[in-house]
């Protein structure tokens, strides 16, 4: 109950923070050039003959959509957690009468409107490029928002899981690097999953990475069938529940052994 009444205020604080560091956020967004690097390669390949069902236009739409979705579903809680656990500043959060993960989640959600604003020009270009079939049937629109929320949810809790590993070990940042490396390939960030050989695609559909990016992107540009969307949502829900449960368990056992460095 207390969480519910505090949450709007937490969101307002988070939003004010995001606005205060807007230039920094913009520069961080500008560093996300990898989809453009991929786009350059793929549109050169698709110039004469389309690749699978992708022609140049649909590559433009696909990669712009990945940027937009990554902006909307991004989180950065892992860096904050690792840093605060190592420096011991987590203590001040533990003293507050509200669960720190709630505060972190509010911080991360509150930045989304600003990120959406920055990503809007790209979305516009993507829509006018002619390579998309934006969902307009009500059930697809609902599915799109569900999948976007699910992608954010999984990203956030996976970050919490890896961040919580700092309670137990030194090199959790390297583990996150490995996660990102797998994400780049298996989420559809650099290469649309469809273009992989079918066994790689099969693996990618079972692993969580696709459900943090590629799945909503496919719904957004109208590439998947209703049945595929339904199946995807179920898998996404399972990963969401699993990651949240694991994150909470790790958090609990981690905080128990946390001995605030330096006091």
């Amino acid at each position: 109950m207390r969480i519910l009444s505090a949450y709007p205020t937490l969101l307002r604080i988070g939003f004010a923070n995001a606005v205060a560091y807007r230039t920094e956020m913009l520069v961080w967004m500008l560093t996300m050039t990898m989809p453009f690097v991929s786009l350059a390669l793929w549109s050169a390949v698709a110039e004469s003959v389309p690749v699978g069902r992708f022609d140049q236009k649909s590559f433009v739409a696909y990669f712009l959509a990945t940027i937009v979705v990554r902006q909307l579903c991004g989180a950065w809680v892992v860096w904050e957690l690792i840093q605060e656990i190592k420096s011991g500043t987590l203590t001040s959060r533990l003293l507050k009468p509200i669960h720190p993960l709630v505060v972190y989640s509010a911080d991360n959600i509150a930045a989304i409107p600003l990120r959406a604003l920055f990503a809007a020009p790209l979305a516009l270009i993507g829509i006018t490029s002619g390579g998309t079939a934006l969902p307009h049937e009500p059930h697809r629109v609902v599915a799109l928002f569900l999948s976007l929320f699910g992608a954010w949810f999984i990203t956030f809790f996976v970050m919490v899981i890896i961040g919580c590993l700092s309670f137990f070990m030194e090199s959790s940042a390297s583990i996150f690097d490995i996660w990102i490396a797998c994400f780049m390939i298996l989420s559809g960030y650099l290469v649309p999953l469809e273009l992989f050989p079918s066994w790689v695609r099969g693996v990618a559909e079972v692993l969580p990475f696709r459900y943090t990016l590629g799945f909503p992107v496919e719904i957004l540009i109208g590439m998947s069938s209703d049945a595929a969307i339904a199946r995807g949502l179920v898998i996404q829900l399972a990963y969401g529940c699993g990651s949240a449960a694991m994150a909470l368990a790790l958090w609990r056992s981690g905080v128990r052994r946390f001995g605030a460095f330096g006091g």
Partner: protein, 262 residues
């Protein structure tokens, strides 16, 4: 000159000693940069393997570019970027005073302050990719081609360094700049592919303004034995211009340094 060489060796030795202190980090970081290199090959493989040449480049030829890119990335992350990140830190804290007081050239001291020795793995990985690619093609580059491309590697490093030092000089005006180096690194990622896959204005931008073409595509073409001499000269001339500009901007900028306390 001898003095500066000794100084360089000394700074290098200190960085290696520092790196060797954290052996585990050394291994994991080295392993991770290998993972990233292999990962960078995946899109190229999926896009170009067993397909007709794209924009004049076959899969194997494009791999040569990736080889050069990997080597340059190793140099950038191992020898250029760490020192310059340190400069920004110095400027922010005001500890640049201690560097400026030393009786040696400020730009030299600042740019050799830190190396990350494990990045040498990228250098080897790059050479490995080149060797492997030429075995795939079943040819070997001529000695002259190797000589020209090595010269162009020096050109590329000069341009890279000059761009970075000019960017860092901006930190004397605007202090909060630590993500600028990330921004430049992510721009450098466009050097992965041959420049001819870009069209129109973008290609001009990457050839003349941010000469990424010069850094990875030209050396690769030289190694493949298809770079016209005129373009090699153009590259060397461009590197000189960049080096002088970098030096000029840095010396100008350092005149504006006022330390943090004053």
């Amino acid at each position: 000159m001898r003095r500066y060489l000794r100084l360089l060796l000394l700074q290098l030795r200190m960085s290696i000693a520092l790196g060797a202190q954290y052996r585990w980090d050394f291994l994991t970081q080295g392993g991770l940069s290998l993972v990233w290199t292999v990962l960078g090959l995946v899109p190229l493989y999926v896009a170009l393997h067993n397909r007709p040449a794209v924009a004049g480049w076959t899969y194997e030829q494009a791999l040569v570019v990736v080889g050069w890119f990997t080597m340059l990335k190793g140099i950038l992350d191992g020898a250029v970027n760490p020192s310059l990140v340190l400069v920004v830190e110095h400027i922010r804290k005001g500890t640049l005073d201690f560097v400026l007081m030393k009786p040696a050239d400020a730009q030299f001291l600042v740019s050799t302050a830190r190396f990350e020795p494990w990045r040498a793995i990228d250098l080897f990985a790059g050479v490995g990719i080149l060797v492997w690619t030429f075995r795939l093609m079943g040819t070997a580059p001529s000695l002259a081609a190797i000589a020209v491309s090595t010269l162009l590697l020096a050109v590329a490093v000069t341009v890279l360094y000059s761009m970075w030092i000019a960017a860092i000089a901006a930190a004397f005006w605007v202090v909060r700049l630590d993500n600028l180096s990330y921004l430049m690194s992510s721009l450098f990622d466009f050097g992965r592919w041959p420049v001819s896959i870009f069209k129109g204005a973008v290609r001009l931008f990457f050839t003349f303004v941010v000469p990424i073409a010069l850094m990875t595509t030209y050396p690769a073409e030289a190694l493949l034995g298809r770079l016209e001499p005129a373009r090699a000269w153009l590259g060397i001339g461009g590197a000189l211009v960049f080096a002088l500009t970098g030096r000029f901007v840095f010396t100008r900028a350092i005149g504006r340094y006022t330390s943090a306390s004053s």
